[in-house]
């Protein structure tokens, strides 16, 4: 089963629609993506959907790239999976970028438009007030990353090693110039060794 032209269009337009829903980050639109990818079109199953997000978040680069991974999996699965060799892979690359570009266009254009407008009127008090007013809230959002990322499974009894890792990482990055990759690698190592399971 390969994708029809209508499928290609649907893929593009669905991600296009999800773009403006992604307030606070691409991940905010994940439930909507689940709806059309898994529930409506059955292009992906739950496991593939979830692992697409995980792979992209662990890999370097902006997290929005999980959209490309999902798109790739749609094309891969539709053309026979990894075992179907490089034609499936090439197909997957095309669906990957179809999804990603669809996702980026609406929000990207809006950002460019708003920024240009804000710059043109930057001395207008409403623009300055908006930037000033939002600043502390946005900092508060960042400080809530532990919750926002929802990486801790709400089991405080067994989660505490993870929280310690978060705390130590935060302090090290805040107060020292330790290399970020070193920290991330250490976290992966500790986790892989099973030391973070209480």
């Amino acid at each position: 089963m390969t994708l029809t032209l209508l499928d290609w269009f649907s893929l593009f337009i669905n991600f296009f629609g999800a773009s403006l829903l992604a307030v606070g980050g691409a991940i905010s639109a994940a439930p909507e993506m689940h709806r059309f990818l898994v529930d409506e079109h059955h292009w992906l199953d739950d496991a593939t959907f979830a692992s697409s997000i995980t792979v992209a978040q662990s890999a370097p680069g902006p997290n929005v790239l999980f959209v490309a991974v999902m798109g790739m999996n749609v094309g891969l699965i539709a053309s026979g999976g990894v075992q179907a060799g490089w034609p499936a892979w090439a197909y997957g690359m095309m669906t990957a970028y179809t999804a990603l570009i669809g996702m980026l266009i609406p929000s990207g254009l809006l950002t460019l438009f708003i920024t240009k407008l804000a710059h043109k009127h930057k001395d207008l008090s409403i623009v300055r007030s908006f930037k000033a007013g939002l600043a502390p809230i946005v900092v508060g959002l960042l400080l809530s990353a532990g919750y926002v990322l929802n990486i801790h499974n709400n089991h405080p009894s067994s989660d505490w090693p993870l929280w310690i890792v978060t705390l130590v990482s935060a302090i090290l990055v805040w107060k020292t110039k330790v290399h970020l990759l070193l920290l991330i690698g250490s976290g992966a190592l500790l986790g892989g060794l099973g030391w973070l399971q209480a």
């Binding site: 240009k116 502390p136 976290g187």
Partner: protein
């Protein structure tokens, strides 16, 4: 009074490669490394400018770090700059991510891999918190005043984590309130300027 040198990317190529290098180091997300590189090392933005830009990038729909890249790119080289920055953040990184996804899709079922990812994510949460901490001093110059800002920061953290209020609600209600208050403060400052 020292002259503040306005630094920035020297060319679109510089813009592209800088963002590419940032993205490729950004395991778990690019924000922390962007703040470290662009503010602390390259000094393309001051901390205050970063907070302002990040606020807009965060509030507008879409991937926030991409919004930030678009804004910075547009500032220096217009529309082509915005495209260059976005390409830097995503072109080569997407090839890397897709290759990794292709190769390691199967090992994601492995419990060791899952535990390693959990450890990694715990570190990344710490990185983001640290970025928030580093941005706190940038609030000192905020028209709301530092103490009010700290109060708002604390309130946001509590409402989000303890009361689990939706982010959109917080942004709308508190955002609206703070914008209004900032406007009042700015008006007051302007008036006292006129009187002098």
């Amino acid at each position: 009074m020292t002259q503040h040198l306005k630094r920035g990317p020297v060319s679109r190529w510089d813009l592209f490669w800088s963002f590419t290098k940032l993205a490729l180091q950004g395991f778990g997300g690019v924000l922390t490394i962007v703040q470290r590189e662009l503010v602390e090392k390259k000094q393309w933005l001051t901390n205050e400018e970063f907070v302002e830009d990040w606020s807009i990038a965060q509030v507008l729909p879409g991937p926030n770090v991409i919004n930030l890249g678009l804004m910075i790119g547009q500032r220096h080289f217009g529309f082509s700059g915005a495209m260059t920055a976005a390409a830097g953040l995503m072109l080569i990184p997407s090839l890397v991510v897709l290759s990794l996804a292709l190769m390691y899709g199967s090992i994601s079922d492995n419990p060791i891999t899952q535990n390693a990812l959990m450890g990694m994510n715990a570190v990344v949460a710490g990185l983001i918190i640290a970025t928030g901490l580093k941005l706190l001093p940038a609030l000192k110059k905020n028209p709301l005043g530092y103490s009010l800002c700290i109060f708002v920061v604390a309130l946001t953290v509590v409402l989000l984590n303890v009361f689990k209020l939706p982010t959109v609600w917080i942004l709308l209600v508190m955002g609206g309130g703070c914008t209004y208050w900032a406007n009042q403060q700015l008006k007051k400052a302007k008036q006292s300027e006129l009187i002098e």
